[in-house]
Amino acid sequence: MFALFQGGCLAALFLTHLRGQENTINQMMILISAGSFAVSVAFMIWVYFQLDVRRTAHERSESRIREIFESNPNALILCDSRGRIQMVNRETEELFGFSREALVGEPIEILVPQDRRDHHKRHVEKFFEDPEKRNMGEGWDLGGRHASGEEFPVSVGLTPIMMPEGLCTLAAVIDISDRVEAEEEIKRSNRELEQFAYVASHDLKSPLRGVAQLVEWITEKLQGDEDEELKRYLELLGSRVDRMQVMLNSLLEYSRAGRREDRLEEVDANQLVQSISESLAPMNGWTVRIDRSLPVLITQQSALSQVFHNLIGNAIKHHDRDTGEIAVSALDNGAFCEFSVYDDGPGIRPEFHERIFGMFQTLRPRDEVEGSGMGLSLVKKLVEQQGGVIRIESDPAQARGTCFRFTWPREVECRRSA
């Protein structure tokens, strides 16, 4: 409006000027009006360009976001609160074999295997009751359904997003077929290894028992014989057969540790450690201090019992004195409990800390300390089977003593369903 007014003034003055009625005031008026007009036009042009720049920036940013959405390596699916698909990216089309036209507006269950659709619907409702970023259905096997009907395992991350049309969910879907296949392969190969260890250790026991019998019978026959060398050889033969029997039994036990499906029960760790201590160190100079904080767990008693039995047994067997002290305590570590078994023995040098958990590993000649060398590897296997970890703290250069710390779930059931 202002510009039109200015333009009008300028036109009137210009006409007056043409009619020859010149004076100084008029000339000044003309100059002022012309200046104002120029400023107004410049302002308008500036405003126009400003708006244009902003619009272009907005458009550019929107297209950038769209490109990021489109080119994302995950299948991205935007759903409204009724579970209807609002938007999908290229990867979704590729992964599920549907065009985006076929998907937009459809319920998300179109991408879910038939038998899991009801469950999924309930899951969607639940998500919108408490919308927050999370991984979908952790702990259960999620599946996607291809347009061809083929099903495949997926992992899904969910993020709530407020859109102009209301609260929506952005689902990022990844095909995890390769991962699942690799996991299956590892499981299968582990099962095979366990089966192999079981069969080998079991079947080797029988001929070895035969050798042991023959040694026994020959020894009986040689009674009264004066050949001391022969007797000594037979003795050595017998002791090696015994050792091999111990090793095979340990291997058998180790391979069985993965197969046991013992029932879960309430286990008072205090009582358990108490009875193990009494059986291993019955009042002969060994003190086993058991901290009162040892908890009650819901677990497989045999597994936990084996762990304590081996750790306390080792502490006594490998002690360099005839008497000593062992201390068992526990720390609360959330869903897990951290147990520690400490002894005041000679300690284990740091360079051996890894090796002692290996199979058939011993740090002293077997003639000095009889043992299969499987004790700690069995402990490690049992602890890790429960989702726990074990570590050792010991450095004889600093101080005597060894402390084994391991974590064990308070409630096995809770851990599995978590």
Binding site: K205, S206, R209, Q213
Partner: protein
């Protein structure tokens, strides 16, 4: 002592194990006639007197291993329990297998006892003695 010697058929494919059983009876001076079959197939032939074997004389009982070629101990047990003529034969198991399914399968076939080689021999001999009516040692 029984008027007739007990005939015991040891069914085991391991010669050392068979010898071990022989020594057990000898050590206890138990008056038995020991016969040996290497597997279930041979055992059935011996009990039935087939394939050129003289029929196993009564009274008799079987001492059977589980893991054997051709016909294992459990299959032999089933065959015996299905045969009306052999159904009541007393059978003892002497094996290395402590697998729960083996023990259960054997018990379902009404064995006189299930014993582990290398550890239960004393119990086995007591059980055989009482089954023979000689009484425990």
């Amino acid at each position: 002592m029984s008027p007739e010697r007990m005939n015991i058929l040891v069914v085991d494919d391991d010669e050392i194990d068979t010898e071990s059983v022989r020594r057990l009876f000898r050590k206890r001076q138990m008056p038995v006639n020991l016969h040996v079959a290497k597997d279930g197939v041979e055992a059935l032939a011996v009990i039935r007197g087939e394939g050129g074997y003289p029929c196993l004389k009564h009274p008799c009982m079987l001492l059977v291993d589980i893991n054997m070629p051709r016909m294992n101990g459990l299959e032999l047990l089933e065959a015996i329990r299905e045969d009306p003529a052999l159904r009541d034969l007393p059978v003892f198991i002497l094996t290395t297998s402590d697998a729960a399914q083996d023990i259960q399968a054997a018990n379902e076939c009404a064995v006189e006892g299930y014993f582990l080689k290398g550890q239960d021999e004393d119990y086995l001999m007591q059980a055989i003695q009482s089954a023979m009516g000689v009484g425990a040692t």
